[in-house]
């Protein structure tokens, strides 16, 4: 019997087109959508003079614009479509608004990761960034453990040096902050910095370069965050912890292919961070 001429799929048999132009780093960059969010933020800040408006509107729009912009880029580059993007941004705005009205309303933040997970299961492009990838238990434990250690380190360092003290928050305040981390802060950071920026940089560059660029971008994002206290030691501390956390998250993402281990580490760290209060 003659042997089949193609008994196995070989590396050499993969299609190749030398004339194919290189793809842009962030294809489908949603510039109009980002402009709309920026416009909303500017409008909200401009309305600061209106009595009783800015105290509620600016933080809500700020959370929606800041984290919504990151998620918008994620959805656009993954080709998830405008309707799903608007849905998630809308949920974010809803959660931010409700949580400011009633502290239990912060539970609405949980809708955002639930929606993202659900949409990722339906959209192959979104799922491919590591949201629906099966999570190896070991990676999840390492992620959580590293965040936990870093959080403990933060508690010691901050209580000694950064002008903070441990605890003192009310349970409601702590709950809202943690819910915000779960539904906005962590998910937008992981989806954008790891799932999109790092992943796409790593397709072109070595790990260390991609991770360094991603981490620098992430450190800058946290330093310019209006919620971060603006004094040198706090900024230095934020840069140090975010750099370590960013590199660790990139390494975990590369090792596991899932965003969950990094998200767990980040949640553990922010859980510690939220327990600090300025003296």
């Amino acid at each position: 019997m003659p042997r089949p001429s193609r008994p196995f799929l070989s590396l050499f048999d993969l299609p190749h087109d030398p004339d194919r132009p290189p793809r842009p780093l962030l294809p489908g960059f949603p510039l109009p959508g980002l402009c709309v969010l920026a416009g909303m933020l500017v409008a909200a800040m401009a309305s600061g003079g209106l009595a009783g408006v800015s105290a509620h509107l600016v933080p809500v729009v700020g959370v929606t614009a800041g984290h919504g912009a990151l998620l918008m880029i994620v959805f656009a580059t993954a080709g998830a479509g405008w309707r799903t993007t608007l849905l998630v941004v809308g949920l974010l705005a809803l959660a931010a608004a409700v949580s400011r009205a009633v502290w239990l309303g912060a539970l609405a933040y949980l809708l955002v990761p639930a929606a993202v997970w659900h949409l990722a299961r339906r959209s192959p492009g979104l799922g491919a960034i590591g949201i629906t990838t099966p999570v190896p238990l070991r990676a999840a434990l390492i992620g959580f453990g590293s965040g936990f250690c870093l959080g403990g380190h933060l508690l010691i360092s901050a209580s000694r040096t950064l002008g903070y003290e441990f605890s003192g928050h009310s349970l409601e305040t702590y709950f809202v902050a943690v819910a915000y981390d779960v539904g906005a802060n962590v998910i937008s950071a992981e989806c954008f910095f790891r799932g999109t920026l790092f992943d796409r940089l790593h397709r072109r560059f070595p790990f260390w370069l991609a991770a360094a660029v991603t981490t620098v971008a992430e450190v800058v994002r946290y330093i310019v965050d209006p919620l971060l206290p603006k004094f040198p030691v706090a900024i230095a501390g934020a840069a140090f912890y975010m750099a370590v956390l960013g590199m660790a998250s990139c390494a975990l993402f590369r090792a596991s292919g899932s965003l969950v281990p990094g998200a767990l580490g980040r949640l553990a760290f922010f859980g510690a961070y939220r327990s600090l209060r300025g003296r």
Binding site: P7, S10, L14, T133, D199, G237
Partner: protein, 496 residues
Amino acid sequence: VSRPAAEWTAAVAAVVITTAAVATFEMGALRHLLVIPTAWCAARYGVRGGLAIAALAMFLEVPCLLPPMAMRGVDPGIVDGVATFSLLLVVGGLAGALSDRARRRLTRYTAAVALQQALSSGTPLAQALGQVSESLREVLSADAVEVIVRRQGSDYIGASGPLSLRPATIGAEVAERARTLFVADLPEGRLAGRPRRLLIVPLRMRGAVIGMIGAERRGDFPRDDRAALEALAVVLALALENARLGEQLEAKVSAATERLRELDRAKTEFVAAASHELRTPLTSLCGFSELLLARQLPEHQRRRFITVIHTEATRLGRIIDDLLDLSRIESGRGPELSPVSLAVVPTLEAAAELFRGSGGGHRFRIVTEADLPPVLGDPDAVGRILVNLVSNAVKYSPPGTDVRLLAARAGEYVDISVEDDGIGIPEHALGQIFDRYYRVSRRPGGPPGLGLGLSLVKSLVESQGGSIRVDSSGGRGSRFTVSLPAVHGDHTGDDA
């Protein structure tokens, strides 16, 4: 406890104790001791080891370093601390990189030796390629490595079997350009956070692509590793070429040995046959001459005996002529010839005449074209050619059958054919029929002969600028056709 675990524990303990001592005794100079565990781990575990210990030291020291910074701002103590940790990172990174490089070189050297051993061990090629692929995969810490070797055109063979490269594929691209191809991100089978990188290195020998190595990694494929694979490709190409040359040499030696054995056997048989062929006329010569000497015989009987003696002496002379010609041909001198313009028809008739009345009862028919030009040939050599061919026709065809001598013009040549209706020549023997000592049938009691006739005929024909071919199929007769150069112009000038 394993040795690595013990080493890591000792290094971490050294860092913790040193940091505690710095904090307790407020002696910043003690921080310099941290270089010892950092360098140790860098030497033992490479960049990751060195950087991990440096980072641990920095991590533990931050809570100690920041309070004075918060209180007093940046002072010389802070600068010293920052400089120390920068130094630790540099030492850990550099020493680790050097250690990694040395380790990689050792591994590659070992791999190069392993490649050569795999290909020179005599294992079948597909299996050897499998061993080579596995060895390279380990050396490069790759997810997959494939090695394929060109068989012919776009057909290759690898560890998993034959592979034919299609156009517009990675393999076809590398084969065409004979250059290394690095694909930083393969869309097919991509995983989140781990791009699929592919490196295909051609195996080149004297400018031609004789194979390829393909290595796939999910994650980084550093330049250093790529250069290593290219270097190993050179080693692999040489090893493959050596293996190929070795196989060729072995095949040639084997063929030559077999040929020598065949020649030796043929010569042994030839000596036996020659002895027999010489003895037969000698016996007749001796027997009939003794009879002539010993008895007074009637004239007619005496004449008949003398005729037999003459015939056998002629036969003996022909055998000796053949042997002398053979000797001359084997020494590279060729037969001595004096070509002249030779009329074909009389030559054919002379050859046929020799065999008429030979006792076989064969009918000789000569068929030639009208106005046939003469050929350029040595009369004696052409005569011997025809006598040999007609003799074979008579020997291998049943008595009473036809032997046809044909002549026709064929361009610048004249084709002279000798046809019979005999047993013919088996197809497998047609390629060897003109070899020296070769005989189709060596069975005892078969037709006599030394296996020299056709070999000599071929030499004689080619010495005169002609050619010979044979057409036959077993049991349906045979036809030998000799093409000799035709002579143009005056047909009668030197006709013999």
